[in-house]
């Protein structure tokens, strides 16, 4: 057993603490090349990560960088710096701790490179940038340990891939580097261990005591949940009562828009003037920091929030978590519940609020999954190649490199362990020459191979441009929102460019809990004025919705099989029983399709249970096939469990529409021209360095004619359809919003077993679909027609032409 220096014991003793078993285990295994600690929030996880560093530096003082700490949040780095300072100062240790993020000053950054602290706290992006400097080996000389906090969150995104590639660079510079990962509870710890250890090193997984089971239940409300919708507004009186009965409550929502609307309604109903705040990712930093500070001081009784509070920072005495809307994913639910009661060994208390009738089923299924410790998650698949392209560029910035050596380093990263040499070469070729079928850039290659066989940047000035574009986070293009006539005033927050584009002067919307009126767009800033209206004209439209996970969907299908549902509230159980009586229950191994007339149209419902994104894709594919067959589909709407299609003609024989091979063919054709592909292309091409978000010129001028990445996609599609960037885009699109993988999963479990039920009227399960927002009209030449219509309208208002006689409507 590794002994802590006595100063440590004295310090622990003085505080009435003792070393947790998992903290001791971390000390015992401090020499391991890789270690993963799984611990619930509040388990002294961070200290467990740092204890070996502090002990080593206390017993053998030295200069230079000893430990690098990486976290997904800038704020977390700052927070840890503060928290770590206390024990270090109280024990009188001579240890320098500094953070380095995008917010660190240039002078400070420069000094850190010349004279690094003992412990440097940073983010994956800042670390990638550090490895791009030629003096990186000097700065990292003597680095002993790297501590990766919230590694489970990083493992879910390309930020994790980028981080592990950067760590492979560090390992090459410092062969003795030891890696430590700190993770919340996850379904597959070994996947995270594989991701973070040097391949094929072993990585021991240590489990902290998970603490007592959470105290988790459905929120009892007087009013029944509505049939459809996602707001949870019906539950506001019960939520307020729960807030009153607790010290501090976090009220989680799945989207920012829902958080805004809920907060607004909560405030209107808040007759006791309880101090309640709102916190989400598109609020301005100043606004968020204000709320965070108030929270730490204990001034707030509740915070309405989104995923922005999912991670790490200790928010003081939260004793209740309320999740509004079905959690969609059990793992996220467990992590959110963990935010309540940050004290070790006290059960976390949580309440679930289903937003609609179907979500009651989903919430109960999630609750049971939590009790059964049955977490969900999808395997991540091989490391993405766009991130690899960026890594090659970053490597080139640091100086000439040998392709064999770099390939070996990349393969030491778990996610890239099976990367074929050809795939690596294709990425290198793309980065160096563009990789086009037309060899156009012989003179202007980005990377060139010297006579010594080493690759280097042709133009050293390129290093600056590459560094300006490091990172894998895709900020959807957002615009700042400011109050008009307050030039230089604090921004209220941000909205997506697409949302801003739909606003007309006079429209009102919610941001940061206030209602504002859109006045106009100036220099890429949305200008608004405050309004005292009761209800906004338009809600905000922000954030993508999560799809219900495969595992949770399977649990729901299992539940539907039961003969009756004593665990469900009466209204929901009755609803399901009625469905069974008039139609059928959807089943895991069969595809239920219902057809009935309604609203003067023929309606068809497909119960695919494949999650929102896949059901959306399925809707697009099936309607495209119906169009081709002359079935005149007019539109569709999708949810996590079903897609509702309406049209002029009844579907008589749906089975052929779901033929797996035909569906795949239709998918290929559809995919090529799809907007999702273009969006994915933009994201991947930016990461791979084909598109530059930031250029030195753009920064100078601010304004310039922009040309859309869609043009690049169309050009490649036309002249070079097999280009590696197109292959990367396709791979990415399949995983992301298109989610064809889950359509495949649905096809595999139903094997063409289609149950087609023809009914005279709407069925109970189908009814909520008619209230679902997000109806998609089928567009043929709709854009041209919309354009013609709008042109007529505009000409009409300008007095240049006769006003249109009849308004044309989107045919639902």
């Amino acid at each position: 057993m590794a002994e802590l220096p006595s100063t440590f014991h004295d310090w622990f003793f003085a505080r009435g603490w003792s070393v947790h078993p998992h903290q001791q285990a971390m000390l015992d295994r401090a020499g391991d090349p890789a270690l993963l600690l799984i611990a619930p929030t509040g388990g002294g996880k961070t200290l467990a990560g740092f204890l070996p560093t502090l002990a080593e530096l206390a017993s053998a003082p030295r200069n230079g960088l000893h430990t690098l700490y990486v976290s997904p949040l800038k704020a977390l780095a700052t927070d840890i710096k503060r928290n770590l300072r206390t024990p270090v100062d109280e024990m009188g240790l001579d240890i320098r701790i500094e953070d380095r993020t995008g917010d660190t000053s240039a002078t400070q950054k420069k000094r850190q490179r010349a004279d690094p602290p003992h412990i440097l706290l940073t983010t994956p992006e800042s670390l990638a940038l550090l490895t791009s400097y030629e003096d990186a080996p000097r700065m990292f000389a003597g680095l002993e340990r790297i501590v990766i906090d919230e590694v489970h969150a990083l493992a879910e995104s390309k930020r994790g891939d980028q981080l592990m590639l950067a760590v492979s660079r560090l390992q090459a510079m410092c062969p003795g580097l030891r890696r430590v990962g700190l993770s919340a509870t996850v379904e597959d710890p070994s996947a995270i261990a594989t991701m973070m250890a040097r391949h094929p090193d072993a990585c021991e997984i240590l489990h902290a005591d998970p603490g007592p089971l959470p105290d988790i239940a459905m929120l009892e409300t007087d009013e029944r949940p509505p049939w459809a919708g996602g707001g949870g507004a019906y539950a506001i009186p019960a939520v307020l009562d729960a807030v009153k009965a607790h010290k501090t409550t976090l009220i989680f929502h799945n989207t920012r828009a829902q958080a805004e609307i809920f907060f607004h309604k909560l405030w209107l109903a808040n007759e006791d003037d309880l101090p309640i705040g709102i916190h989400h990712g598109s609020l301005a930093r100043e606004q968020r920091e204000k709320v965070e500070a108030a929270m730490v001081r204990g001034d707030l009784r509740a915070i309405v929030c989104t995923g922005s509070l999912d991670l790490g920072i200790d928010w003081g005495d939260v004793d209740l978590v309320i999740q509004v809307g079905a959690p969609k994913n059990v793992k996220r639910l467990v992590q959110r519940i963990g935010r309540a009661n940050h004290r070790y060994n006290a059960p976390s208390k949580a309440l679930l609020v289903p937003a609609n009738r179907f979500e009651v089923v989903e919430c109960i299924a999630a609750l049971e999954a939590v009790k059964a410790h049955d977490l969900d998650g999808d395997p991540r698949g091989p490391g993405p190649r766009d991130v690899l392209c960026q890594h090659i560029l970053i490597r080139a910035c640091a100086g000439p490199f040998d392709a064999d050596a770099l390939f070996a380093e990349v393969r030491s990263v778990g996610a890239y362990a099976t990367l074929p040499r050809e795939a690596f070469e294709a990425c290198l070729d793309m980065v160096a020459t563009g990789g086009y079928a037309l060899r156009a850039y012989d003179r202007w290659q980005r990377l060139k191979q010297g006579a010594d066989g080493l690759w280097h940047l042709r133009d050293p000035r390129a290093a600056q441009r590459i560094r300006m574009n490091i990172g894998t986070i895709q900020d959807t293009d957002t615009l700042k929102v400011r109050l008009k006539n307050r030039a230089g005033g604090k921004p209220l927050g941000e909205v997506e460019e697409g949302f801003a584009a739909t606003l007309s002067p006079g429209d009102t919307f919610l941001i940061g809990g206030q209602i504002v009126r859109y006045e106009g767009l100036r220099e890429m800033t949305v200008e608004v004025t405050r309004r005292a209206d009761k209800t906004p004209k338009i809600a905000t439209f922000l954030g993508t919705k999560f799809a219900t996970s495969t595992q949770l969907s399977a649990r729901i299908l299992e539940m539907l099989k039961q003969p009756n549902w004593p665990e469900l509230p009466g209204h929901t159980a009755d609803w399901l029983a009625l469905q069974r009586e008039v139609s059928q229950m959807p089943r895991v191994d069969r595809l239920l399709i219902e057809s009935f007339p309604h609203d003067g149209r023929e309606q068809t419902v497909v119960y695919g249970f494949a999650g929102r994104n896949a059901m959306q894709t399925l809707g697009l594919l099936i309607t495209a096939r119906m169009e081709a067959l002359g079935l005149n589909p007019m539109g569709f709407v999708s949810t996590d469990y079903a897609v509702l299609i309406w049209g002029l003609d009844r579907i008589v024989d749906p089975a052929p529409l779901f033929d797996a091979d035909d569906l795949r063919d239709a998918f290929e054709t559809w995919l090529a021209g799809n907007a999702v592909m273009k969006r994915t292309f933009r994201a991947s091409a930016t990461i791979a360095g084909l598109l530059e978000r930031n250029t030195p010129q753009a920064r100078k001028s601010g304004r310039q004619a922009t040309f859309s990445s869609d043009i690049l996609y169309d050009t490649l599609h036309k002249y070079d359809p097999d280009h590696v960037m197109m292959q990367i885009t396709r791979d990415e699109a399949l995983k992301g919003l298109v989610d064809f993988g889950r359509i495949e999963e649905m096809l595999a479990r139903t094997q063409g077993r289609v149950d087609h039920v023809i009914l005279p009227r709407v069925t109970p399960l189908a009814a909520p679909l008619f209230l679902e927002p997000g109806r998609v009209p089928i567009q043929g030449l709709a854009n041209e027609r919309l354009l013609a219509e709008e042109a007529e309208r505009l000409l009409g208002t300008a007095g240049l032409a006769e006003p249109p006689k009849r308004e044309w409507r989107v045919p639902y």
Partner: protein, 225 residues
């Protein structure tokens, strides 16, 4: 026909869905801002290696316009090349292609800010061209009358039933006509930009390119501060 006919200084001009302008009386085709060699220029300066097909694509579309209109003369209204060196970077195939299109045609390269000097191609080089009552120059002047220009890459952007529509466009008032950029990698400047308000102080009409040319009024310019 999908094109739209307008008059400027008494002359009848056809605005083509491609963004080119055809003057039937003179059998003259005018295109602006081809920016040939743009991807090469970006690469030369150490930037991204964009798909190097835009010169080919731009020339293909220009060739189609020549075939369809049967134009006997051509005016390239400036910024035909992304810079002078880009002009020299065109492949032999592309150079021959331009020569082939020039054969039998009266061809004028109007100078632009990107290509201020003469380039090594056939045809004549001029800072501006006057024909009848029309004057062709790259950048519009505030007191120009009967003026055709390019440079700004005008682009219309508005929302129709919640859907954003963005298209390169011609802008026209009683004094001047501004052409959209014709080059493949050129993009555009939103018509609400102040630059347009100064040149079209009393507003004007926009003609959107696309499958057919669509006419809409320009948004009323906001008072510049």
């Amino acid at each position: 026909m999908n094109e739209k006919t307008v008059t400027l200084a008494g002359q009848t001009l056809a605005l083509r869905p491609s963004g080119a302008l055809f003057w039937p009386e003179q059998s003259l085709l005018c295109v602006s801002d081809l920016h040939l060699g743009k991807s090469e220029r970006i690469a030369r300066r150490g930037g991204a290696l964009l798909p190097p097909y835009e010169t080919h694509d731009t020339l293909t579309r220009l060739d189609e316009e020549l075939t369809q209109t049967g134009a006997r003369s051509v005016i390239c209204l400036g910024d035909s090349f992304d810079d002078i060196a880009a002009a020299e970077s065109l492949t032999e195939e592309e150079t021959l292609w331009i020569a082939r299109m020039q054969a039998g045609r009266d061809w004028v390269w109007v100078e632009g800010n990107h290509d201020p000097g003469p380039v090594d191609f056939g045809g004549s080089h001029k800072s501006e061209v006057e024909i009848e009552d029309l004057i062709f120059r790259h950048i519009a002047t505030t007191d120009g009358v009967g003026e055709l220009s390019g440079h700004f890459h005008p682009k219309a952007r508005f929302v129709a039933r919640g859907r954003m529509i963005s298209r390169p466009c011609f802008l026209l008032d009683d004094r001047r006509l501004m052409l959209p950029s014709f080059g493949t990698y050129t993009g555009g400047l939103c018509w609400t930009d102040r630059a347009f308000a100064a040149l079209f102080p009393r507003g004007g009409r926009a003609y959107l390119t696309g499958k057919t040319v669509t006419e809409v009024p320009m948004p009323v310019a906001q008072a510049a501060e």
